[in-house]
Amino acid sequence: MNENETILVIDDEKQIRRLLEITLSANEYKVILAVNGKDGLIDAATYHPSLIVLDLGLPDTDGQEILKKIREWYQKPVIILSVRDSEEDIIKALDNGANDYLTKPFRTGELLARIRAALRSGKNLSDTTELTIGSLTIDRTSHVARKNNEILKLTATEYSLLLLLAKNTGRVLTHQYILKEIWGYGYIHQTQYLRVFVAQLRKKIEDNPSKPTLLITESGIGYRFGE
């Protein structure tokens, strides 16, 4: 299944490149390695990979700049893999168009899971009429969400929130982004609204709301919908 999937790794650390090459190849991905931002941009244009793993601390250009340049034409998933773990850096990368981030040191199992989720979401065309995530299905024409084929009673806001998250499965959405999309620009600092609705939504969609598996919290950053 992975035969056609090519992953471009842009990282200046030799050990990390080697680790990723071994791990990704073992999982039957085709791996292209770039050691700096310039090479990374050329390789991205040449091979048109299915996914890019990008380090933020590159020797020649800042990773955030590379990310912006890639996003000018590249639609597929970009996952940030960086030692920079400040919330500012992560939020900035997500705003610049990254789908997801992992901080070094990372677990390869976690990285593979994120890659799989991102690749899957890339195929999940956002304009299909029905979205399926695990036991959840969302029918966009009738505005109805079902869990295990039972209709969920959702308010309009809960439904829009669920739809927004589901459309972006495997992608980390920042608090500000969600607030802007659901409530509008004037509300991007009203995080308390978001907390209340996330809690309500979890009660309806999660098997165990106190151990969420669908609507996952990203510390201080935002939320991810997945698995």
């Binding site: 919330e87 040191p105 806001t157 907390r195 106190s210 151990k211 201080g220």
Partner: protein
């Protein structure tokens, strides 16, 4: 001063003239000798409160008037009788001696009074200097004294402990030495001799530089702008107060040096502790990783053993990672770069997140997390609080016996969030519980590893929220931490309407 003396001259002349006028009826009688006694008496009185000059003038005038108006023949300076010549001569001498002696007594008395005043002033100064703590206060007292006693503005340049002079400009804002003046100050400091105006080492402008005569070190240099040279008395007083000021400065100076040495000792000790424990804490996991991976590479172990070795490597790397996290956090705290970025959060989310992060470590235990039923959203820094709960829980897993219960309770009371964590470990030895949040503190130098930074990070992060943390031993055994963080409740009234649409 001159004006006062001139007044005295006028006054004494006037008194003598008045006495002569009042005595006029006696001019033509045989009792003109009485007038001489009256005049002598008046001169003596004048001598008690007037300077030598006016007294001399008074006695001279008395003699002349007496001779001119009273000794026959009148209105001439001629004296016929021999006895009158004698009386006139005696009169003149007595008036003179009386006047001069009295003035001298008065000068002596003034000297004694001055000396007493100075002794008092010196006593005051000594007392104030001994009360002053810190170089700045000593300087304030010294500058005040020089101003009040000599009416001079003074400026102190002190050395920094390594014989480098620095401006004490923080006290004396507008006065800065130019480089030429600074060189003179340097010279005075090095040679311990005064220089500048009115000294034998004159300098192009009107400042005078005095070295401060310390007993072991020269604390610095004092600079004044003299209008005229000190007289003997002033000079001796000046020297005396300089000694007092120097002593006080030297005392403060040595105290500061001792403080600095203590501080260096302390940081040296900290450095050693840090170095020892870090090298230990780094080496153990690195040794594990190296040994285990080497064993995998170089020998054909059975598959089960390979797996076990890999698990060891993984555990060691987690330990290394935690160590790095803690070091980074403590250095963020130390450098003061921590500021809580507050936002609304759901405590359920935080507790779940931490429990999930620690699910492997918590596996041998029972974690009971109780969050108040109607717990409101709270304003916290999620990342910092995540670290707080993480460190508290990981501590419990390191000390509590396997299969025991670890408790975490979250509630909201009077504008405060309360978080309580408790375990059934050994708790803290009573005598050490006060040091629990100190850096590098570990219970009995415990072998469970760690640098002893976890709890001081917890405290630092809680305080970054304006909160407090308290630790106690539970009666039933184990440690209990109670965190209190002030937080408002969110305004979500509008939201309820939006919900039921």
């Amino acid at each position: 001063m001159n004006k006062q003396i001139i007044n005295q001259y006028f006054f004494s002349s006037f008194i003598i003239a008045a006495v002569v006028l009042l005595s006029a009826p006696l001019a033509n009688t045989e009792n003109y000798h009485v007038v001489s006694f009256i005049l002598l008496f008046v001169v003596s009185i004048l001598a008690t409160f007037m300077g030598t000059g006016p007294v001399l003038l008074a006695s001279t005038l008395s003699a002349i008037f007496w001779n001119f108006f009273f000794i026959p023949p009148h209105h001439t300076f001629q004296i016929d009788k021999t006895e009158d010549i004698l009386i006139f001569g005696l009169f003149f001498i007595i008036a003179l001696v009386n006047g001069v002696l009295t003035t001298r007594v008065r000068v002596q008395e003034k000297l004694v009074r001055d000396r007493e005043r100075r002794t008092n002033a010196l006593f005051q100064l000594t007392r104030e200097l001994s009360k002053a703590s810190g170089i700045e206060e000593v300087l304030k007292v010294a500058i005040g004294e020089i101003k009040s006693h000599f009416n001079l503005d003074s400026f102190f340049i002190l050395q920094d402990g390594e014989n480098i002079l620095y401006d004490t400009g923080r006290l004396q804002k507008d006065k800065k030495l130019n480089s030429g003046e600074y060189h003179v100050a340097e010279w005075v400091f090095r040679h311990g001799k005064k220089a500048g105006a009115f000294t034998d080492q004159p300098f192009e402008n009107d400042l005078t530089f005095y070295p401060l005569p310390g007993t072991k070190v020269i604390p610095g240099v004092v600079v004044v702008r003299l209008k005229e040279p000190f007289n003997e008395d002033q000079k001796s007083y000046w020297d005396t107060i300089l000694v007092q000021i120097s002593n006080a400065l030297e005392r403060e100076f040595l105290a500061e040096m001792a403080q600095r040495v203590r501080f260096l000792d302390e940081s040296d000790r900290l450095y050693k502790t840090l170095f020892n424990s870090i090298s230990h804490e780094l080496r153990i996991p690195v040794a594990t990783i190296m040994g285990a991976s080497d064993s995998i590479i170089n020998s054909s172990n059975p598959a089960g053993m390979q797996q076990a070795l890999c698990n060891e490597i993984f555990t060691a790397s987690l330990r290394l990672n935690r160590l790095i996290e803690n070091l980074l956090n403590i250095s963020r705290l130390e450098s003061g770069h921590i500021s809580a970025r507050l936002d609304w959060y759901d405590m359920n989310d935080l507790v779940n997140k931490v429990a999930d992060d620690l699910k492997d470590e918590l596996k041998p235990f029972t974690l009971t997390a109780i969050i108040q039923e109607d717990m409101p959203l709270v304003k916290i820094d999620f990342g910092l609080m995540e670290q707080v709960l993480y460190n508290l829980l990981i501590n419990s897993t390191q000390y509590a016996p396997p299969a025991s219960e670890i408790l975490m309770a979250v509630s909201y009371l009077d504008e405060n969030m309360l978080i309580e964590t408790a375990d059934k470990g050994p708790g803290f030895p009573e005598q050490e519980i006060k040091r629990a949040f100190k850096k590098f503190f570990r219970v009995n130098e415990n072998k469970t590893g760690g640098l002893g930074l976890g709890l001081s990070i917890v405290k630092g992060f809680v305080e970054a929220h304006g909160g407090t943390i308290h630790v106690e031993n539970r009666i039933e055994g184990g440690a209990r931490f109670i965190i209190r963080i002030p937080t408002e409740k969110p305004d979500i009234k509008n939201l309820q309407e939006a919900y039921y649409e």
